[in-house]
Symmetry: C2
Subunit: 408 residues, 2 copies
Amino acid sequence: MHFEAALPLRSGASVRAYDLSYETYGTLNADKSNAVLICHALNASHHVAGVYLDATGAVQPKSEGWWDTMIGPGKPVDTDRFFVIGVNNLGSCFGSTGPMQINPDTQQIYGADFPVVTVEDWVDAQARLLDALGIKTLAAVMGGSLGGMQALAWTLQYPDRVRHAVVVASAPNLNAENIAFNEVARRAITTDPDFHGGHFYRHGVLPRRGLRIARMIGHITYLSDDVMNEKFGRELAPKPVAPTLVASRTALPPGGALRLRPGEAGSAAPVGGENSSARAYLYSTQDVEFQIESYLRYQGDKFSEYFDANTYLLITRALDYFDPAGTYGGNLSQALAKASAKFLLVSFTTDWRFAPARSREIVKALLDNQRDVSYAEIDAPHGHDAFLLEDPRYLSVVRTYFNSKVAA
Amino acid sequence: MHFEAALPLRSGASVRAYDLSYETYGTLNADKSNAVLICHALNASHHVAGVYLDATGAVQPKSEGWWDTMIGPGKPVDTDRFFVIGVNNLGSCFGSTGPMQINPDTQQIYGADFPVVTVEDWVDAQARLLDALGIKTLAAVMGGSLGGMQALAWTLQYPDRVRHAVVVASAPNLNAENIAFNEVARRAITTDPDFHGGHFYRHGVLPRRGLRIARMIGHITYLSDDVMNEKFGRELAPKPVAPTLVASRTALPPGGALRLRPGEAGSAAPVGGENSSARAYLYSTQDVEFQIESYLRYQGDKFSEYFDANTYLLITRALDYFDPAGTYGGNLSQALAKASAKFLLVSFTTDWRFAPARSREIVKALLDNQRDVSYAEIDAPHGHDAFLLEDPRYLSVVRTYFNSKVAA
């Protein structure tokens, strides 16, 4: 969807002549009352559910939407019933206007000049998309992690346009440790000599080293200590067959120990095993010794192939900045007084990035305002990643909420 | 102390003609029974206590030993009573032979060719130092974190030479998350273009970018979530006056970027400068916005000025490799059967790097062997860093142990 009019941003800057990529699933009903907006987190996109087909009509491998366990026909967010909208946020790198696109004012690639966008800005942009689709009121807005922050922001910026907000594995703001992890990841990117102050495109290079490190750090924080020990423990990686293994991933066994996808750490079988556990230490500081190292390097390599470095900076900054209580002297109850939606909040016991206590802060603030709030704390081992995984209790909570409350 | 004879290492390699830097405090008694060996962790040295004087006899600023709260005259480890030895480990960068020194076999700087050293190798090297000092048996061996691993290893490699082991904020091995953080830090260093495969000395450069990132990651894991929130919270850093900021702001619409929204400077963060708490967001992805960012950048910068990159790799690898239960199929009780020393273990409730549960594993394994074990779990807010800080309960536990058990 193209938008010609400038969107004013919280920074004071604005973006004009921008596009938003979006997908819809299901059918908008006659009174346009069954729309559910899905907000994405750091590295996700508008492709929230379903698969893509190739020219022959065959399913493209690994093309499932990032919340395909949650959204689809007969699924907890049932697209036989709801009209679901996925939208890629402004500044991201999956089709919506962002740092990799041309700045209409200069005819140069934006790069580091793409303005800083906030959660509130994204919500404004999403509201314009709904306007264009003729949707006045959302049956629900829903998201996990940073997506949950957007869902919460919707209830504050457009209280009349949201009947329900589903906020999963989220927080009312980042704490110091969260910001710290973001900052280290950003510094890894910005100090990569190939970053060129964010204008690497015009140098024909990509700051892949920095992106790899950023992603490795991220991955550690997405997983719980427990699940890491269960999946990887101190298991040794298969002994490298050539000293070039580290540099060249083609040397790795196809589909072998490294088949985990981001967010999938809990759903696949334990890695490693037979041929690796018996070997002795390599006594090397630079080669892969442990499975966890192999996993992280692989995740970092993969991420650095498809994700834009400036987008990484922008989205982590949007996380840092979000703080609805900030304008109320830290008083979240006052900040949330504006919200009139009904809420479902979900957290996961082993999520140390956005711990249950952070969700409970939101619950408390809403209850202080006598809002209608449901809250589920799921005893799941997978850490922050749990919000993307197929946990029956979690999916059942969301299903029940949509069936009994949103569809009511 | 110079050692001419080659020291065989666990890797199969060896080091010959090496030096160990060490300091001693107090007086060795006539029967040489009052020696206490202090083992250091990642970035510390042989300088465990006291201060250095300059040529005029004045105290050099910031020259206190890293465990000066613990060790000295009248302190918990009382140097009026005990002969305390601090030794810089092989491969470190504070005077003992390491990657920055000349390899006697090649007459080149070792760099990445310095052999991988393990906790067990360090203990062997420390034992040779004791031999040279004429000390057969230690009253106690003591260390925190990686130093605690050395203390534990002493009781297994030289059970007859250790009467007491004091193991603080340590673990019987690293878990997957610990290894993961080490690996990200190492990758930041080794992928720094100035690393040159570890032979940066001959290129006249230092991989400071990587060291900075490594240190920033480390710092996050040393602190607890709680203490980070208390010290930094979401407090904004003082507004920078750097010309880069001015330049980037001029690209934005006049007045826009700095538009102040009431209270936007963040929630009620308890600490911070008068001139920082009132300012608005800068809306920048690359400038320092929050205090925690400023703190981490400072720590990273400082560290990168004095610490050797190859030493960082070696020492984190020594951490990764330590696993006394490894040769017993993971059975720590069997592994610790060899130990005959008496033990004091101390852990800190908010230490998520080496959590109390990890110390309790050691306690349990020792009790399985009917060993004499004291254990204190200190309710301290400071995370892993607590082992270096002046906590009265912690210091009192150690003092009592030394007075009632070690000196008995």
